[in-house]
Structure formats: C-alpha cells, structure tokens
C-alpha cells in the first residue's frame, strides 16, 4: 500500500496523470483523506444505534439453512488453486500451443462457474438470481462477439 502511495504521490502534476496508477491512487487517496477527516474532526460521527448485545454467544457447528460447510469451501478453493496452476503450466508447454485457446477457455470457465455456484451460492439460491446474472453474461458475450466480428477483429 505504501509503495502504491509513494508511486502515486512522488510524481507531479501532469506526470501524475500520465502514470495510470492514479486510477488506483484516487480512491485510496480519498480513503486516506476521509480517514484524516474523521480522525481530526471534533465532531462525533456516531448514529444512535442499539448497543451491541454483550451476552455470550454460541458458535454453531453448521451454518443454518442449506449453506455448505467451511470444509467444503476449502475443498472448492483447493480445486481452484489446482486449476490455476494447470493454466499456467499449460501456458509454458509448447506441445499444447495449438490447443491453448480451447484449454484455457475451458479451465477459466470452470473457475468462473465454481466461484459463482459455490462461493456466490447460486447453486443454493433462488433461480431468479442465476437467471439475472447469466442473462447479463450471455448478453454481453453475444453483443461483443457480433461487434468484434463486424469490425473484423479476429476472435482467436
């Protein structure tokens, strides 16, 4: 973080904006400014809120509802890690160059689907949410395949 801020702040005026890191820098500077504002201001920004319950709480063994267990999430995480490793490995294997596109697209689609189905719970949630999300995905894919092909860009 500090590295980022120095990168952003070390350069002046015009060069600041020539350095594209400012895209990241602006939100971060804004956060910093907000923090400073809150730290320095004598005004207490505190909404009347009910006091947090002090009583002892009980940790459940399983999440209520049909959410999977933590162990299952870790398993999915491991699969994701393995897929990423395979992707990078495939990238360096010359013999697979011809099939690189197909392999990479399938693998990254697999990662995408795993995250969406398990971590984002689409597998367990109302189908309406899946429809909305996949609707957006399919729509944009279809639109830009057409745009790119009419503009003569090679898709591969």
């Amino acid at each position: 973080m500090l590295e980022l801020l120095t990168v952003v702040l070390a350069v002046d005026g015009k060069a600041f904006f020539e350095n594209p890191a400012y895209l990241l820098g602006i939100p971060l500077i804004a956060v910093g400014a907000l923090g400073a504002l809150l730290a320095l201001t004598p005004i207490e920004l505190k909404w009347p809120q009910p006091a947090p319950p002090e009583e002892e709480y009980e940790i459940l063994d399983h999440a209520p509802g049909d959410h999977p267990d933590a162990a299952e999430y870790v398993k999915v995480g491991l699969i994701l890690a393995v897929i990423t490793a395979v992707e990078v490995a495939v990238y360096y294997v010359d013999a697979l160059e011809g099939a690189l596109l197909a392999i990479l697209l399938i693998l990254s689609a697999a990662k995408f689907v795993l995250v969406a189905l398990w971590f984002m719970h689409l597998r367990f949630d109302n189908r309406l949410l899946s429809i909305a999300f996949s609707g957006g995905m399919l729509l944009v894919a279809a639109l830009f395949v057409i745009v790119l092909s009419t503009l003569g860009a090679s898709l591969v």
């Binding site: 594209p20 009980e58 459940l60 944009v140």
Partner: protein, 206 residues
Amino acid sequence: MAHAATVDEHATNTGIDNRKLLMWLFLASECLFFGGLIGTYLLYRNSSIEGPYPTDRVIDGVAYSGLFDIPFTSISAFVLLMSSVTMVLALSAIQRNDRRGLQIWLAATALLGMTFLAGQAFEFTEFYNEGLTLNSNLFGTTFFVLTGFHGAHVSVGVLILLSLWIMARRGRITSENALNVELAGLYWHFVDVVWIVIFTLVYLLQ
C-alpha cells in the same frame, strides 16, 4: 418492532431479500460494464502501431520484448482467488455465529486484496518505466483502462471489507445481520471472477 420499515413489513414475493436482489442485479449490470471494457481490449489486441507490446515479437526486423510477466501475474491472480476462499470462510463463520472467525477471515481477505492491489501498482509502475502509458499506444490505452477499472473495483471492495472488519471488531455483526457480509462477499467474488476472465483473455491468450 412490528413495523420496522416498509421493507420488513412482509416477506418479499420471491423470498429473496431486497438488498440481495439489488446486489445481483447490480452484478448483472456490471457484467455489461466489464464486458464492454474487455471487448474493447480484444478488439484492439493486435492493433497497436508502436511498442511496447504485451508479448515478445519481431516487427520489421526490430525485436520487442514483451511486458507481461506471467509468473508474477499468476501469483496475483492466485492471491485474489484465495481471497475469495477467505471471504466465503468469513461468511461461513458468521453464519455459525463465530464472531472471532469472522474478524480473522475478513482481515485476511482485506489483506489479500491489498496484496493484489500492491502487485497491480508494482506492475503498472514497471510497465510505465518500460514506456507504456495511457497514450503510448492502443495496448497501453486498453490495458490500463481495463485493469485500472478492475483495480478501482478491488479498492472499493477493500474499503467495504475494512469497514465490515471494524464493525465486526465492535461486535456489530451477528448471525442475524450476516447478510451484510454475504453482500460484500457477492461483490468480492464478482471482482474475482472478472479477474479470472481478464487473466485468461488478456494475459494468457496471446
């Protein structure tokens, strides 16, 4: 409070919480946003007239060495992917009412997110030093704007995570309002899947 708010008056028609539906519609909308940026990158992928280029190539007898550092970016991508795992563990913790677990996993997620951002800043700086800017060529323009907007989304995500972490430390998040964590998680996972797409289409496909 029987009439806490209009939204709580009666269960929703679909059974989905209003805020969750809003988040999903927002993410569906964001697909179009990132789709536009990625589509532009793909359109201009091989259109740059001048260097520097993303990969090694020889043009008119002049050799250009590529900018992309695949091992480095793979690690970044891996970091972001693992932050998705810690995020979902945070949600799982608070659903089991494990407040301490929530704090730990939220902090871990935020740290991984910041690591990713630092990596991106490092990468941007490297590229900048190699002569790649917003206006140097089409690669610079499309690459910086695409990954920059993604980075801005990650920054917003980190901010949300840190806010949640502070709330969690003050004991304001319980299993009853775990929805806050779930919504932040949805946003975070979305940012992650976008990076999965960017990593494949921008970095790995040449």
